[in-house]
């Protein structure tokens, strides 16, 4: 961290560095010698390899990219056209927006989590083991981590662990129903009643058996006690009927709107009798699908309420367009929280214990000690972590390249990925260079901040 300072001293002796130098300098020799007494030519000679490398590998490419950004795809001069394209292209605008989200959210959350882990592991007996586990994801390459999280976020709860957890929690509170996907077939006496409920088109009469056929319940999801459907017997003064799956495997509908022996009843399905919007009676079907309603149901419409057909909950669409960026940031935090933790833990180790003890003796509780003593003392370390992560996040590529499926690649776009796409997908080196320049300009403030901080620290 002190290299820039050392370099500075070697090249130009700063006034206040060594108070004796100005006095002794003129006595010793002419202007060709530096403080350490090396001749300038020799200094240059020794610096040359490094300078050549730096120039060839860093400065020249920067200059070339800046130049290239003023030429179009074919290599003809085009002024600021590439920059215009860059700011008018929707894809690139999303990329800029996403980079901003990343820049704000990822380093802050990672550092916060790292701080919590560092402070907690200090007090746990198995702290080192815990740290090891948290740090482990750092060892995995970004690409592999991306593939892992692609699977973690998979929307099928049988494959994606994130949704498996989510669905598990959800289903303990709201069970899915027994008849998902049930719906009236063609020429059915039922029609949709809004909100997923189905209702008879005609009012029912007591003494005339009713048929309430549905189709589409997957056979493997049918209740186990389903038995072969039977037509209901007419009972005077009562509304009777059958609720069943009007579909015979291998034969299509069979006899339409009439229960066949090969078809199954809907045991336990709820049926309501509705008059003028009011439920006057309700019942559940038996295992052969037959049901009986009291006399009040005479002249009412029969309805299957919507909760019969609630679809199994499928969890959250992590990789969908709306959640994709937060989801990728989540995987980034998983990787880098360990890095933050290790740096902060090292800083924590050098915090003088007396200060913490003193605060406790003065009557501060643990929260106050953490908030008023530990965090301020750690501020320089926290700054290093945040800035390092910021630079890291600015050029984020791998995770964003790997995790999103094709349908949400656009919404997950960031500058580095866009740069790659423009350069190697569209083969437009001009626009790609313009993006590179933009990225460079964005990194500069963070770099300056970092340099100033280093210099300040060096002075201390």
């Amino acid at each position: 961290m002190t290299t820039p300072d050392a370099g500075g001293t070697a090249a130009v002796p700063p006034a206040g560095a060594t108070p004796h130098a100005p006095k002794t300098g003129p006595h010793r020799a002419g202007p060709r010698k530096s403080v350490t007494g090396t001749r300038r030519t020799i200094a240059v000679l020794f610096l040359l390899p490094a300078l050549v490398l730096l120039g060839a590998l860093v400065l020249y490419p920067i200059g070339y990219s800046v130049g290239r950004s003023f030429f179009d795809k074919a290599g003809d001069f085009s002024g600021f056209d590439n920059y215009e394209t860059m700011f008018s292209d929707d894809g690139i605008r999303t990329a800029v927006k996403n980079n901003a989200i990343w820049l704000v959210a990822a380093p802050a959350l990672t550092t916060a989590l790292g701080l919590i882990f560092a402070v907690l592991t200090e007090r746990v007996r198995w702290g080192t083991a815990f740290k090891l586990v948290i740090f482990m994801p750092m060892v995995i390459s970004m690409l592999a981590a991306g593939i892992i999280f692609r699977l973690v976020y998979e929307s099928d709860p049988d494959r994606g662990v994130a949704n498996a957890l989510w669905v598990g929690v959800h289903d303990t509170f709201a069970e899915s129903s027994g008849f998902p996907q049930g719906h009236p077939g063609a020429r059915s006496p039922l029609e949709g009643a809004g909100g997923g409920a189905f209702i008879t088109k005609e009012p029912v009469r007591a003494g005339e058996p009713v048929v309430l056929p549905l189709t589409g319940v997957p056979p493997d999801l049918m209740p186990d006690d389903a038995a072969s459907a039977k037509p209901a017997a007419a009972e005077p003064g009562k509304v009777t009927g059958t609720a069943w799956q009007d579909f015979t495997r291998g034969k299509g509908r069979g006899q339409v709107n009439a229960p066949d022996a090969a078809e199954f009843g809907y045991p336990g399905i709820k049926i309501e009798a509705v008059k003028d919007g009011e439920v006057v009676a309700s019942t559940k079907a038996a295992s052969d699908g037959t049901f009986t309603l009291p006399e009040e149901a005479d002249g009412a419409l029969l309805r299957y309420p919507a909760d019969n057909f609630r679809e199994p909950y499928n969890g959250v669409d992590w990789l969908g367009p709306t959640l994709i960026t937060p989801a990728i940031i989540g995987s980034y935090i998983w990787m880098w929280a360990g890095f933050a933790m290790v740096l902060i833990a090292a800083g924590l180790a050098s915090v003088p214990r007396e200060l913490l003890e003193a605060a406790r003796v003065d009557g501060a509780n643990e929260w106050q000690v953490f908030r008023r003593v530990t965090v301020p003392l750690l501020a320089p370390v926290l700054a290093v972590v945040v800035v390092t992560l910021m630079i890291n996040v600015m050029k984020i590529f791998d995770l964003v390249f790997v995790i999103p499926p094709g349908s949400s690649k656009d919404e997950a776009n960031v500058l580095a990925v866009q740069l790659y796409n423009s350069a190697f997908g569209d083969r437009d080196a001009g626009v790609a260079s313009a993006i590179a320049v933009l990225l460079f300009l964005l990194v500069i403030p963070v770099m300056l901040f970092n340099l100033r901080r280093m210099r300040r620290e060096g002075r201390r």
């Binding site: 589409g216 291998g250 094709g406």
Partner: protein, 444 residues
Amino acid sequence: MAATAAVSALVLGLGACGGDDSDDKGNGKDGGGGKESAATVQLPKLDGEKVSVAAVWGGSERKVFLEVLDEFEKRTGAEVSFVPAQDPIISFLESKVAGGQPPDVAMLPQVGAIEQAVANKWAKPVGPEAQKELDKNYAQGWQKLGAVDGKQYGVYFKAANKSLVWYNTAVFDNAGVEEPKTWDEFMQTAQTVYDSGVTPLSVAGAEAWTLTDWFENIYLSQAGPQKYDQLAKHEIKWTDPSVEKALTTLGGLFGKKGFIADNALQTEFPASVKQTFTGGDQPKAGMVFEGDMVSLSISETKAKVGTDAKVFPFPAVGDGPPAVVGGDAAVALKDSKGAQALLTYFASPDAARIWAQAGGFVSPNKGLDLKAYPNDVQRGIADDLIKAGDDIRYDMSDQAPQSFGGTPGKGEWKALQDFLKNPKNVAGTQRTLEDAAAKAYKKS
């Protein structure tokens, strides 16, 4: 005839000297095949000459292709080397040409690639012998696909029929339905399958090329080949009423509740096939649409093509069923005798037979006896393709500039994915498509 046999025996011996295990196996097989059917094409003697072929094929495809090349070596005495290329093959060839070492022949997987190769002045026209074979064995439609500005450059060796719907026979049996012929029948079939408790269709929405193929099949059948060609060249706009009609038809399917398997937008192509052919009586979907390469993904499941998995031609939305095709064309990049001989060979039924027997291959060569295919499904696909004759149309998105028709998250791909999410938005989709197309076609 005797002379040829002697030469081939000689070459067989030579090959065995330098060949490794797999080489020997290939030779044995080919030898058998050669005896059964007499050669239909006369190839020149090219002893000692070296011919190189570049293709992107890998895995089992490369293995069979090498067998095809072995037979050529045997007949001509030339030494053929296979150059493994990467996608996009045009960029690969660019570096080879720049390096001064282009392969003699390249297998180009897109119509656009042939045009680019001609525009870059790499491609060499087909010679008279190869042209003779082409005239004998290829329908005009297939010849035209390999021609640029009236000059023949490409010889289509391997074809892809992209107008197929694959179905799980158990699902169709349980629902008691037959293969549909028209779009209305298709929708009815889907409804009955849905009534039986199985989601009718699996759509690979994560890979938008499957969505462009959906659109192309409907459009070709509904609006006709002429409009199809115009739209492919962007001579009519995407805001055209014919596009609206096709999108409305497609939206009627995509937007129907319960017709499309869950999470279509995140289903990759192989997964879309696998979920259709796993799960016994209760798979996640009953049908899946795509070209003959579906059989490759089916082979990774327990289902057997021909018994558990069958196929019917894409239903006719308009007057007749569509025939959207793709394919790999051989193009000569050097003016060598070997390159021309190889093109002649590729245009002959002899070369096609070797791969057809191995499976996973459909030839546009009408001279090839359909008996060569290993099963009824492959035979049916090939038969449909040959019967379609000159009405075949090349995949539209493959003809479009890459930034419109072939970039994930952009252009047509993105627009159709958004359409799958919101199938009611026909007008909005058309506008997005037209905006993207206008930009992409202007640039190229």
